[in-house]
């Protein structure tokens, strides 16, 4: 993960942890790594990690059990919603860039379809 120093780090960590859950890098029911472990992995302050994980709790993607620690939610609808939100943000980025290049929705859709299929052929 690349950290942008000009934006609050805690918010970037929230995005990163949501992404990990949305793409299944952290699976439903998995134990979330300890705060210090994440701080060392990402090279950031443990308090910042703590604050971000609390926000991910608040979003309903993780739950904290007093003694056992923090776990990824088993609620698939919450994870599905996180995935949808991540996809929407990515789509927004593409839409904004395509608009900036002066493309119509039709052209952008055709281009997306073309690239999508080319990518499938590559695999």
């Amino acid at each position: 993960m690349q950290i942008d120093d000009s934006r609050p780090i805690w918010a970037q960590l929230v995005d990163e942890f949501r992404r990990r859950i949305a793409v299944g890098h952290w699976r439903p029911g998995d134990k979330v790594p300890a705060v210090r472990e994440l701080a060392l992995e990402l090279g950031v302050n443990p308090n910042t990690v703590q604050k971000s994980l609390a926000e991910v709790d608040r979003l309903g993607l993780t739950t904290t059990e007093r003694t056992a620690g923090r776990f990824v939610t088993q609620d698939v609808s919450a994870i599905r919603a996180a995935r949808a939100a991540l996809a929407a943000t990515t789509a927004d980025g593409f839409a904004a860039a395509a608009t900036g290049l002066g493309m119509s929705l039709e052209e952008a859709t055709r281009l997306l379809e073309q690239r999508w299929n080319a990518r499938k052929d590559d695999q």
Partner: protein, 233 residues
Amino acid sequence: MTIPAVEVTNLSKAYRGRPALRELDLALPQGRIVGLMGDNGSGKTTLLKILAGVLSDWQGTVRIAGHAPGAASKALVSFLPDASFLPDAHRPADSIALFERFFADFDSGKAREMIDFFALPWDRSLKEMSKGMREKLQISLAMSRRARVYLLDEPISGVDPASRDVIMRGILQNFDDDSLLLVSTHLIQDVEQIVDAVVFLKDGSVLLSGTADDLRDEHGMGLDSLFRKVYAS
């Protein structure tokens, strides 16, 4: 209500009439990593020395976990000065023995672990070590005390970027949640991501201070850029 780890009120210090700190106010809670930043001569080292209890003859109020600087506060403070404080002939084991004798809160097992983490040679004396190695040894010793307040004066200056990374990792790994770590540096980029809060000093006063993420949010820039901006104005 917990007592701040460091509380400074109206602190002034002059060297032969030349002011180094001017009516400085500062309160820092425990459990934080705080960057003390400022250009040369801004008062960083003077402030750290006063907090460490090694400078006298200043005006104002200073409290370390409630104690005025003295024997009681020194027992709670681990100070890493910017100049080398270990004899040249020392090998790491000699320095560990020295710290064990001097400091009741010193954990020699932790020091050995950190020295191994930094991959320092056990068979070399300080004289035979590079500057980066000496710095790593001193940090290993300073961080291996179970102190309430850690004061690190320029722990990464004069060290190559790869070593700086390793040093910051070592500090991060060994930082205790109940303590305060105050680290002075002019290399803001290297500590940018690990500090909770920053204090910018200029001409012996606090120019700007705050939580790192709040400052990024408020100014829309990193601490390094912010530092350049506020010093230029």
